[in-house]
Amino acid sequence: MFSRTHRNIAGLAVVLAVVCVLPFILRPYQLDFLIFMFINIILVVSYRFIAITGEFSLAHAVIMGVGAYASALLAALPISPWISMPLGGVAAAAIAYILSFPLFRMKGFYFLIGSFAAAEAIRLCWVQFIDPFGGFRGLRRIPVLEIDLGELLYIDLGAPVPYYFFALIVGLICLFVMYRIEHSRYGFVFHAVHHKDTLAQSVGVDVRRFRTIAFVTGGFFAGIAGAMVAHYVTAINPGLFGLKQMLFVLVWVLVGGMGHFAGPIIGVTVLSIIDESLRGLDELRPGFYGLVLIATVLFLPEGLVSLPRKVLQWSTWLWNRGGGTLVKRE
């Protein structure tokens, strides 16, 4: 236990060091790519946070959009983006709370589809009500963040390098908070609610209450992710938060692996890099991406996070076979 923690901390330190050096090596568009990856990491980790209580939602992308729209509209009032961004998260959490009433009457696949329908209804409202949501075209001229301390310091967070560090810091804070919650007393209940639904209920745990708490908390962080997109791209539209985006979130989480906190993070990172690497294929890109998805799920059913263990298993198996003893595969 002791050594493992140490190893983890050492690993984290190396990753952090690399991540901090990257902006000075990489080109601006690659930085942009990483910024959106960090934002997507917040998104998928918050998604897993909800999913560990046992329900898979298809509303997450739209909840993220609620954060983006709320922050953009508040910033137009005008309220400083520094305040509107967290308020965007709060708005997303509030909508998640309202949605939780009808949704948690459902379970399993019904929850999945129900959340899709509810989300789609919200998204169609953005399309339908041109005032204030801007319709199909969405909102533009969303202010970027600035640090303005007069003579002392001025940083325009609209530029890639400063925003990279901002996204990194916000991302780390969000991850830290979610990690702490998951490994607190509450978090154990979350897991219990997932694995032993009826048992948890019988010992007096209000299952629905805990699911709602997870749904609302996850919604808050999704809203933050949405606001971060809004204030960097400076333009949002309903298409950004559609079923396609939601399917990608689901795919990232499941391909990465649900069983471990790092799973979704690995999923986003690996799949985004693969997707970007296939750029040269133009219109054929989704096909290769599809093949990667299929291969991963078939050969790594527990997700990419289980790859090291699997590789170990396969090599042992190969080693033993080479030695002449047949070992039964797991």
Partner: protein, 426 residues
């Protein structure tokens, strides 16, 4: 279908994956190492739902580049430059467009970026302005005062739609009532506002309107209601070409006998084979065939229009759409500006482009217009053809003057845009 090996098919079959993998890590290898090269950025959807508006355009600009390169290259300041097209798939997504714009500008150092319009343009226009990058869109309502380097050089959708209605008003006095159906999106709504204005000016009453969503697979109910209102003229507004195809067929099947006026009528031979020659006779729309005699010189500005059309259809049978030539037409105009500016430097070319008078538009001389509508003169407005189906062939019946109409009836146009809540400028 003829088997034809294109560049992308060849790439996919051989080293496509390897070539793709290097794209992220390293600078792409120079295709023309020993020659002077100018790079053109293509930032539109190549995959997904909007690919039909992007990919055929990429095919088009690749053919355009080939034709230029085959002739020795692009002439600038007495020297020949090879043209290289660099594409980035924005998936019609604001985030992807943001990343793509940075790659095209800082990584590939392109001299112009061609875009489709609407949400991806909204996402990157401030960035383009900050970096003084010349950008084109096919949707004029994208342009705005705060984006001096963004032009709508080819399409002036939906304004040109007024010309056919104006033609009806002058030549078909028996037409008194109209019915409209279109899809409920930015293109459909802005076009609806324009048709409402055009019909109002023409003294034609709109008696039925139906807006449908993207998920429609069956157009029978939409058409039934329209026909039940018994209009003199039906318009599908700027419904997507595929929708126009199916809607028109439904109108035929349900026994409609009146006049049509529409933005597009792509693949009209197919529509004719589904309906009848008599049924389509007199159909009015706005897009001529590129091999139309009027398009070969004679005041229009699209070099080798017929050869371009032919090459395209041979290489990509069945893929021809309006956007097939529009991105290429924007490049034609860019070429004029480059030769005038004597440089590829985007701000200088933008300045030269803006100073062109008349603007060499594919449909003839135009002027930069839009001050009173978008707040900036960045849309090339001039003549636009009114096309009529005559004896099974698309014939340009007149070159309508879009600019004169818009200047005269600007208040009516604006009123209907505001009424529908369509933003005037991006």
């Amino acid at each position: 279908m003829k088997a034809n090996i294109t560049r992308r098919k060849f790439m996919a079959a051989t080293g496509g994956v390897a070539a793709g993998l290097t794209a992220f890590g390293a600078t792409p290898s120079k295709l023309f190492a020993d020659e002077k090269t100018v790079k053109i950025g293509f930032l539109a959807a190549l995959t997904g739902d909007a690919a039909g508006w992007g990919l055929p355009g990429l095919y088009g600009v690749e053919i355009w580049a080939e034709q230029i390169n085959a002739a020795g290259g692009l002439d600038m300041g007495g020297e020949k430059y090879k043209v290289e097209i660099i594409s980035y798939d924005d998936e019609f997504d604001a985030v992807k467009a943001t990343v793509g714009a940075k790659k095209l500008l800082f990584e590939d150092e392109v001299s112009i970026v061609l875009m489709l319009g609407i949400t991806p343009v909204q996402a990157v226009k401030d960035f383009m302005t900050r970096n003084k990058m010349l950008t084109t869109t096919l949707v004029p309502t994208d342009i705005s005062e705060d984006a001096p380097y963004l032009f709508a050089p080819v399409e002036v959708h939906p304004f040109y739609n007024v010309t056919a209605v104006d033609y009806i008003a002058r030549n078909m006095p028996h037409i008194k009532t109209a019915a409209i159906a279109t899809q409920n999106d930015e293109l459909g709504l802005s076009s609806l506002a324009t048709y409402r204005a055009a019909f109002e000016v023409a003294g034609i009453e709109i008696i039925e309107e139906n807006l449908f969503g993207f998920e429609v697979t069956d157009f029978a109910p939409v058409v039934s209601k329209l026909i039940a209102a018994n209009p003199d003229v039906i318009t599908w507004d700027t419904a997507y070409p595929d929708y126009v195809n199916l809607l028109t067929e439904q109108a035929y099947l349900q026994g409609y006998k009146g006049q049509f006026v529409n933005c597009t009528l792509d693949q009209y031979e197919h529509i004719m084979s589904k309906t009848s020659k008599e049924f389509l006779e007199g159909f009015l729309w706005q897009f001529p065939d590129l091999d139309d005699p009027i398009m070969q010189g004679g005041g229009t500005h699209f070099d080798n229009a017929a050869a371009f059309y032919q090459t395209y259809n041979e290489r990509y049978p069945g893929a021809w759409t309006a956007v097939s030539w529009e991105y290429a037409a924007a490049l034609e105009m860019w070429r004029s500006a480059v030769s005038q500016a004597g440089t590829f430097d985007p701000p200088a070319v933008a300045e030269a482009l803006r100073s062109l008078s008349p603007v060499p538009h594919a449909f003839g001389d135009a002027e930069w217009w839009g001050e009173d509508f978008f707040g900036v003169n960045s849309a090339a407005l001039g003549k636009w053809p009114v096309v009529q189906m005559q004896n099974g062939k698309a014939v340009i019946v007149e070159m309508g003057d879009v600019r004169a109409w818009c200047d005269q009836h600007l208040d009516v146009l604006k009123k209907h845009f505001i009424e529908l809540g369509v933003p005037l400028a991006g």
